[in-house]
Amino acid sequence: MTVIEQAERTSPSERTSPSKPTQLGLIDCDVHPYFTTGVRELCDYMEPAWQHRLGLDHAERAGNAAHGVPAFTLPANFLYFDEDASFRRDASRAGEMPGSDPVFTAEQLFDGYAIDRGILVSGNMLGLGALVEPDQAAVIASAYNDWMIERWLRVDTRYRGALVVAPQDPIQAAAEIERVGDVPGMVSVFLPLLNVAMGRQHYYPIYEAAERHGLPIQVHPSGTEGVFVTGPPMVQVPAYKIEYRTMFPHVHQANLISMICHGVFERYPKLIFIITEGGFAWLPDLMWRLDASWKALREEVPWVTKLPSEYVRTNVRLTTQPFVEAPQAADVAAICKLVEGERTLMFSSDYPHFDFDDPRRSLTALPEQQREAVFSKTAIEVFGERLL
């Protein structure tokens, strides 16, 4: 495990923690906080006009249940019914929303698994990119960031935040990075996915702002793939959750190829792109195929000045959950070696989702020489002093 000394905090009085870690041995790059009661919690962080616009400003409009009309909801795909609603059944007190209590989460996740830092990727905002109205999405992203700062980052020193931007309007997204990018505790930009490939010019203001602030761009499955027209497309519309979940890597593969071929990492050489919960066993084949294609078709994209796989090594990181479950441990080790896990992989648990990875149980086949890098060292390199 990597040992780095804890830096003195500038504002220790604002935060409380049961224990002050003096070293970072385990960093969880994917923890999902959820609203306790719903999106109305954002009212405290939203202008009255927007509260009214979204119908959140008084109870009867927000509920309207008597007529069977749902209140305003954020885009999420509830079409694939699962009896446990995709959550670990023990991730809350009885009757409470899993992942909605920052104190309970810190105890169960951080104390329970000796995790020193957890990066909050909003569970409620995963599908924000599928909202059809850009201003609405931008207002919600800003309100969420203030909610996260006040209700989570200030509760326990081990929390870190992925600030959310709405991808629909890149100018407003860049402004949001300016607004909260340097708030203590923020470590990355969470970019909800859209139906525009990530190598396209549309995103460049966001990449520019993220790079300038030294914030990686973090992406995650959205819960809108394939079924929302404005969400990221899949190669087919899945009928079952088993299809949908297994196809997550497709979206990330398409975006990674797009970013490399459009020269995103030539334009923004310091930008780090983090694929969260997208799998990683596919990466060697993608690198080899892209390199082989580049050797034949390089003239088409002359701004790609080196082997495409080189951009992966310098600019792309992937989180581990759901970790590979191959029948033979030796095969898992072989994949981790081919992926160059000591350079590319970072641990994540996906708490409180049902496919949570326990760092002590789920990664036993990870090669010994990669463990330190995967559990902490690479994340410390990527997020830097913002983790301390």
Partner: protein, 117 residues
């Protein structure tokens, strides 16, 4: 077979698992209908607290496009990753899961719940 007297049988509520520690092992005792089951409270897959899982009947293997639900074939579904195990013998619902849960013999003797390990 070691005999362990647990607690008065009337204390066990239906569908509310009670967790006991025996020899350092966490064991769940569960009442479904009139039947009482005892099993290791640790999922053999990744160690989740198994007895927090949902107990229900089972969708048995069927032809494409058909659903065949057997409400009598009771299973517990792991609260984390969803692996399913039969309540009667701890075997996996799908053989390909390749792992099983240790079940224990349990009886009511003179009003007390007794477990044999």
């Amino acid at each position: 077979m070691p005999r362990h007297v647990l607690f008065p049988a009337v204390e066990l509520e239906e569908n509310v698992p009670r967790i006991v520690k025996i020899g350092g092992r966490s064991i769940g005792v569960l009442k479904v209908g009139e039947q009482i089951y005892a099993m290791r409270n640790t999922c053999p897959h990744r160690g989740a607290p198994l007895c927090l899982g949902r107990v229900a009947g089972t969708m048995v293997a069927s032809r494409p496009g058909e659903y065949s639900y057997d409400p009598e074939l009771l299973k517990i579904r792991c609260p984390w990753h969803g692996y399913e195990f039969r309540l009667d013998d701890g075997e996996p619902i799908a053989d390909a899961i390749g792992m099983r849960v240790k079940m224990y013999e349990v009886a009511v003797e003179a009003g007390e719940l007794v477990l044999y390990s």
